[in-house]
Structures are given as C-alpha cells and as structure tokens.
C-alpha cells in the first residue's frame, strides 16, 4: 500500500488522443531501436544486453532503493532534527560520488590501455577521500549553522509556521 500522500493522488487518465498518439509514436520509435539492436545482434548481443538491463533494474529496485530507504529511516530515528538534512546531503552526495567513481577506482582502464599514461592518471582512492572530506566539512558547517537556528532566520516567513508545526516524532523514511 502506498502512503496517504500517494493515495490522495488521482490516477492519470490513460485515454484521449494524446495518450494514444504518444503510445503510437513512442512505440514506433522504441520498436525502431529494438529492430536496430536485433539487426546488429553480432555486435549488440541482445541476450547479454537484456541481462544487463534487467540486472540493473533489479539491483536498483531491490538492493539500492531499499538500502537508501533504510538509511533514511535510521537517520530519522537517530539524528537530531537540525542535523538530519545536513547528514542527508552528506550521505547522498557521498553515495553518488562513490558509485560514479567505481570505474576509476577499479582502474581496469590502465590494463586495457597499457603504455598510455594519460589514461586514469590520478590516485583515485586518495582523490575520492579528499573530496569526501570536503563534502563532510560542508556537512559539519551546515549542521552547526542549522542547529544554532540559522535555518529559521533564513527560511521564508511563509514556510516557517508549517516548519514549526510539523510533528517531530513521525517516523518517516528518507
């Protein structure tokens, strides 16, 4: 079951010329791509392609997303109100940086391009550690600013009442 928020939203009406035109046009473009993929089968290896596509989808839906939700839930229980958002920024930014750095950290490019010192020239574990340090120093600064009341002074008056009214003990997932 979806939460109360999602339930309140009306389902989109899948009818009318816009939907059917879009379906026909999008379907044609998609089938053009699929036909090309199958025609180039010796290069695209459709079964391997399908395994990657399905694998990425499953890893996202049933590994990555639940882990993020779990982390969000833990964070809401564990972190003080003023520190929640700064830590959220830190965790999400760090997670994205680590994911996007997997190819350079793994460094297989150095082996596929031997004798080319301009491929992957950096010391990436050290570089990533440095970037993460800067990110978490930013988190620290934001947290201190937020816990000393900085956010109340700066947030717009229109938002402030709702911010104060919101129940703080609600458990919510990030």
């Amino acid at each position: 079951m979806s939460g109360p928020r999602a339930a309140a939203e009306q389902p989109e009406p899948l009818a009318g010329w816009r939907w059917w035109t879009g379906l026909a046009a999008g379907g044609a473009v998609g089938l053009f791509g699929l036909a090309g993929l199958l025609r180039d089968a010796t290069k695209t290896m459709p079964l391997v392609w399908l395994a990657w596509l399905a694998g990425l989808l499953l890893v996202h839906d049933f590994v990555l997303a639940p882990l993020v939700l779990l982390a969000g839930r833990r964070l809401r229980k564990w972190a003080p109100e003023a520190w929640r958002w700064p830590i959220q920024v830190g965790l999400i930014t760090s997670g994205v940086l680590v994911l996007a750095s997997v190819p350079v950290l793994y460094g297989v490019g150095r082996r596929t391009q031997p004798g080319n010192a301009s491929v992957l020239p950096g010391h990436y574990p050290l570089a990533l550690a440095g970037v993460l340090l800067v990110v978490w120093l930013g988190v620290l600064a934001l947290g201190i600013w937020s816990s000393t009341g900085g956010h109340r002074r700066s947030s717009s008056p229109r938002l402030s009442p709702a911010w104060r009214r919101r129940p703080s003990r609600r458990t919510r997932c990030g």
């Binding site: 979806s2 379906l23 473009v29 695209t44 939700l69 959220q88 994205v96 940086l97 992957l120 997932c173």
Partner: protein
C-alpha cells in the same frame, strides 16, 4: 502489500520536477549523441561545418557531462516515484498495463545508458557487447519508452507543476526544496570533480576524471598510443612517404623533409585547435604544419573534394573522411609540430591531421596516404 512511504519530500510535484530535469538532461544527451553519430557516419544530406571551432568540443562535452549529472538526478527521480512500484492493484486495465510495461525499457535502458557510458569513459569494457552500437540503439529504445511515459504522465505533470499546487503543502514544500537542493549538490560536486577534463577553468578540480588536461606527452592526453595502435615500429622507417592521390592532376609522394620544407614556406601555418574526444575530454593545443587546402591546390584537387585520410594503423579508426568544408578550412593542418616541438609518437609522428570542430577519432594520426574523392 509493500512497505509504507511517508517522507514529506515525496510528492507528485517532486517527481514531476525531477522528471523534467531528467527529461532535459536525457534530451541533451540524445541530441548531442545523434549529432556525434551523424558527424562520424554522415548520410548524403548531412554536412557538418568546420566552424565554429569549438562546436564539436561543446556538443560532446555536453553529452558526457549531462550524462554524468543525470546519475544523481535519475536516482532522485526514481526515489520519489518508488512507492508506485508497490502500488496495488499492479494494473488497472490494458492501457495501464502498457504504461507500466513501458517503464521496464525506460528505466532499465536509462540505467544501462548511464552505466555503460560511465564505464566507457573509464576504458572499462566489461559488458561483452559493442559499446557504440548498443548505446546507440538503447538510446532509441529509451526515447520511445520516454514518449509513451510522457504521454501518460502529461496530465499529472501539468497538475503537479501548476502554481496553486505550490501553496497547498507548506511542510512538503520545505522538505521537497531540501531534497531537490541535495540532488543538485550531488550533481554539482560530481561535475566539479570531473568536468575539468573538458572545461579548462575547472581543470585543477577534475580529480575524479579518467582524464586530466595537461597530462600526457607534450602536456596533452592521448587516446591511443603508438604501441597499442601497432605502429611504433613503422615510425622510424626512412622510406616513409605520404602518398597523395585520387582525383588530382598529379600524384605526389612526400617525405618528412618535403613536408618540413613546405611548413617553412608559404604553405606553413599554425593554429590553436582543440582535440575533442568522443569520451568528453577536450583540450586546446598549438599545432603547426602544412595547410591542407594549399597542398590540395598544389596537386590540383577540385575545390569541392572530400578527402579520405588513411593512417599507418590498421583496423578500427584507421581512416577518416574529411568533408569539403573541413578539407578547405584555412586552419585544417597536416600537423608536424605540437606545442612548439615535433609530434611525439603517441600524438601521430611523423604527421597527423588536425581540423577544427571534428571528433578526436577523425583527427587521424600516423598518416600514410590521402585520397581525394
């Protein structure tokens, strides 16, 4: 029954805003990707101009760095729409079943595009399939699925982005704003630490990029070095000549000394031109050599001629077709020098082609022959 989702940051409005952002980023990637494809495999109706000089550099830089920025934005979009995965009942009829089924190629394909693109710029070819073909056809599949998805979600998008909706939920407003800022911070830090491989003002910050500006022989990165291209042994051959033939009045075979003599004379020309790799990195350098246009005139090639350039290298990317606009551009050079010194073997010694606004793979190195078509 699935999990419960109660984050105030999650709403139709959040999903719609992130959806628009993903749509813009993927739209830029599609347009620039198709453009790069057309430049490298031009149909009859397509003529890629040689000016402005920076056009390909910017187009391909946008392709790669919009793709990188799309990583956190797509993940945020999926986070905000994630409860829909658990919606019950899973389908409400045929149209709804089609709409949901289209999400499989849309989402799986989008993840595949980002993951293969990211791995490819890191020289990690760990999939088995050919990158270019698969990335290309997957892009069409994702585009088709995106059109279907958009035509289903357009009413939602319109409703969610309407002004009166904004005032409806103030607590949600703050949470949403914070979530969008977080996504922007993640994308921003990712760009700051990678985009300097193309965008010179940020070059010192590009510590997570697979390429660094200024790193390589003669302070310029190399895509393929002489040894792995299989040409290292052929470069010292004193019998080497550059053969110029095809639709010309007289065929010539030029030695390195012949080319140097022309560079010292009125055919000599220097230009600042970027090497712009399809993998997104680019860097401007100072090139000096023989102006191709003047050499074509010397051998009596027609003014509208295209030129096939052949490398000593064999196999993929060993030749390139230069269209008339590029062949006749005053800055297109048979380059003998880079940044004030003779070409390093990895940069194409004895002579390479350098033309404005072309992909790096078409800037053929280690020239063997030119055929006027």
């Amino acid at each position: 029954m699935g999990p419960t989702f109660t984050s105030a940051a999650r709403s139709e409005r959040t999903t719609s805003m992130l959806g628009v952002a993903v749509g813009v980023l993927f739209g830029v990637c599609l347009a620039t990707g198709l453009l790069s494809h057309l430049i490298q495999q031009p149909p009859d109706w397509f003529a890629w101009p040689s000016r402005p000089v920076w056009l390909y550099r910017w187009s391909q830089g946008l392709h790669v760095f919009c793709g990188i920025a799309a990583i956190p934005v797509l993940l945020a979009k999926l986070w905000s729409a994630y409860p829909n995965l658990w919606r019950w009942p899973p389908v409400r009829g045929v149209a709804h079943a089609i709409e949901r089924a289209a999400i499989v190629p849309l989402l799986g394909g989008a993840l595949l595009l980002l993951v293969t693109g990211l791995m490819n710029i890191g020289y990690w070819y760990g999939w088995g399939f050919d990158f270019i073909r698969t990335h290309y056809w997957t892009a069409w599949i994702v585009t088709g699925a995106l059109v279907v998805h958009l035509s289903a979600k357009l009413p939602v998008l319109r409703r969610a982005l309407a002004r009166q909706h904004a005032a409806a939920d103030m607590a949600g407003d703050l949470e949403r704003r914070r979530f969008l800022i977080t996504t922007g911070v993640a994308a921003g830090v990712l760009l700051l630490t990678t985009a300097g491989s193309a965008f010179t003002p940020l070059r010192r910050l590009a510590v997570l990029s697979p390429r660094r500006q200024g790193v390589g022989p003669q302070d310029l990165p190399v895509n393929k070095d002489a040894r792995s291209a299989g040409v290292a042994d052929k470069l010292d051959d004193p019998g080497w000549r550059l053969a110029v033939g095809g639709r010309v009045n007289r065929t010539v075979r030029l030695s390195l000394a012949d080319l140097r003599a022309r560079m010292a004379g009125p055919m000599g020309h220097a230009a600042r031109l970027p090497i712009a790799c399809v993998e997104g990195w680019s860097q401007e350098a100072h090139w000096r050599g023989v102006r191709l246009r003047d050499l074509l005139e010397e051998v009596g090639a027609p003014a509208d001629a295209a030129v096939r350039i052949q490398s000593l290298q064999r196999g993929g990317y060993s030749s390139a077709l230069l269209n008339p606009a590029h062949a006749r551009d005053p800055d297109t050079l048979l380059a003998l020098e880079l940044n004030g010194a003779p070409l390093h073997p990895d940069h194409g010694f004895p002579v390479r082609l350098i033309a404005p606004s072309n992909p790096g793979v078409m800037q053929t190195k280690w020239l063997e022959s030119m055929t006027v078509l």
